[in-house]
Point group: C2
DNA sequence: ATGAAAGCGCTAACAC
DNA sequence: GTGTTAGCGCTTTCAT
């Protein structure tokens, strides 16, 4: 069962291949009768144009690449949703790759996507100062980073003002009366988490809170070290009254650990997250958090990419404003 | 800045295009010196082979398609993760499309993917008896359904024994002492949800529980009708003591509605879900549910697809066994 | 061990 | 309006 080609259609319809092509591409100036002849032949043979051949010829694939750190992470799933749906409306398919947070996989993905001649790439997870990716972004190939970037002076991106986000969070806690706040970060290889930590530190200064490096911990999201950390903190003579998690996912782990220790949230400790993924609004979780408007972020990223694809040599950067989402895991400290 | 091609490399290295091709493809019988010459030219020109041209020639794209109903739904995100990671290990990229649960989008996706000459397609959401998709699956194109199928006699698939799953759930509730169980289904256009409802009904018979059609409701996942339904049920003289949700997502909504009504779970009502997505294990949710081993399901789906791609004319069907995941949203009924 | 030439399935001038 | 021809960037016989 060989593939049926436009040549076969042409023969069957008694026309040239060019005419078949014209029908496929809705070329207007054609005799209605020949168009119908061709359409009929296409029907009968069950012909579907080979987009690969088409792409080779036209030097456009109508595909873009989307690279994320972990598609099973709701943040990426929810942003991918937006990008994929919106891309389809503009006639693009998306090749999705998951780096599992390994920068070597990012590089491989880029290579593979470029080889497949995608027209642009959206990248959700990139290490700070990743030199290969930086180099690539500077070739002029349409690339948009979102969520994380390499550096504020490199490439096109749409990110949150993460520093400010952390400050908004600290402000909220301080206003509730908290004076001793622990901070639990994910890996600092990403600009967003690193920015948040910076913001946290700056906020401490602004509110004249003492800086205690033991109150700050860098962890993997999944790490059960979080539980150990929490326990150690709470056993101190003067324990923190609030925990600031650098992401909602981390906050969930903190909440879980707190529960294991028999601590009530928010009565015993306040917990605040960062991202505002969908599930955080669930009433059984109901996490106070900082929104980074991630769906909007994704939408802008795609829009910008399409712009870059159309017009070379643009440069587009967006920095979104954080927003406090007040829910029920934070309250005034005990006593 | 024109693309650099293998022809350019050939010229620069002073060899033929064929030789460049041989280098790219690691053809063994070559003089070491010419290989190095070519490699050097590739380096200097920054040449990356055009996979589109390659695909056209070799009739293989090293891409597969993955079609899901909603990638922001954790079930699909978590299964997509498995499929994408595993596919990459076998040298395949995946083009992901999201149908937003519209069967017309499924059909368009298939068309687009076939046009792009993917080597196979994995489909996570298909309506019962969808005739176009059925037709397509019967052409012999490598297709594997998972999670839902068209009919048990059609196509290749890996699904759960959903009927049995529902029975396992009812058994659990009955053993706890529940005699009046409400059932909240999602749309019945999918084989999995429809199978679960069937299983629920059969289980009622098996345990001699009275069938009351008012206890069964078909809803959209997001529907706030669920809240209305729950309220109506609880205002009855003899309200149900347990609610069986056809998916974890639906169960979350039920839990939410229960909380709004001031009902304690599991003390006032028991709730059981279906799927066992990651977040269900969160201690603040801690949902009793039926596992469909979704990651394993995804892994098998990909494996089977790869088999189909290698060997035509196979026929592979897997039906996985459900498993009760006992957590804390179910207990003995009051009184 | 390497080169020449044909061809994958389509589109795009250019003719008529 | 439609056909002819060349070519997109590779791989693959077939020579040598």
């Amino acid at each position: 069962m060989d593939r049926v080609t436009s040549k076969d259609v042409a023969k069957k319809a008694g026309v040239s291949q060019a005419t078949v092509s014209r029908v496929i591409n809705n070329y207007p100036h054609m005799k209605q009768s020949t168009r119908e002849k061709v359409l009929k032949a296409i029907q009968e043979l069950g012909f579907t144009p080979d987009q690969i051949a088409r792409s080779l010829n036209m030097r456009k694939t109508s595909s873009i690449g989307l690279i994320v750190g972990d598609i099973s992470n709701p943040f990426f799933a929810e942003t991918a949703k937006v990008i994929i749906s919106q891309a389809r409306k503009s006639g693009f398919d998306v090749i999705l790759t998951d780096t599992e947070h390994e920068s070597v996989n990012l590089e491989k993905s880029i290579e593979s996507l470029v080889g497949k001649r995608v027209e642009g790439i959206i990248i959700g997870s990139v290490d700070l100062y990743d030199s290969k990716t930086r180099q690539f972004a500077e070739t002029g190939f349409p690339v948009v980073f979102y969520n994380t970037n390499i550096h504020e002076d490199i490439g096109n991106y749409v990110v949150l003002n993460n520093k400010k986000g952390a400050k908004v969070g600290v402000k909220h806690l301080v206003e509730l009366g908290h004076r001793k706040i622990a901070y639990i970060s994910g890996t600092l290889k990403y600009s967003n988490l690193s920015g948040r930590l910076e913001g946290f530190k700056e906020a401490l200064k602004e509110y004249d809170l003492p800086f205690d490096k033991h109150l700050i911990k860098e962890f993997d999201v999944s790490s059960n070290g979080i539980s150990t950390f929490l326990k150690a903190q709470m056993e101190q003579p003067n324990p923190p009254t609030a925990f600031f998690a650098a992401s909602d996912q981390i906050a969930f782990t903190v909440m879980e650990a707190a529960r294991e220790l028999g601590l009530q949230i928010p009565d015993d400790i306040s917990v605040i997250g960062f991202d505002n993924i969908n599930i955080s609004a669930n009433p059984f979780i109901n996490l106070t958090t900082i929104s980074q408007q991630h769906r909007r972020m994704a939408s802008i990223a795609l829009e910008n990419l399409l712009t870059l694809i159309k017009n070379d040599n643009e440069m587009i950067r967006n920095v979104l404003e954080p927003e406090l989402i007040l829910r029920s895991t934070t309250t005034t400290p005990r006593k």
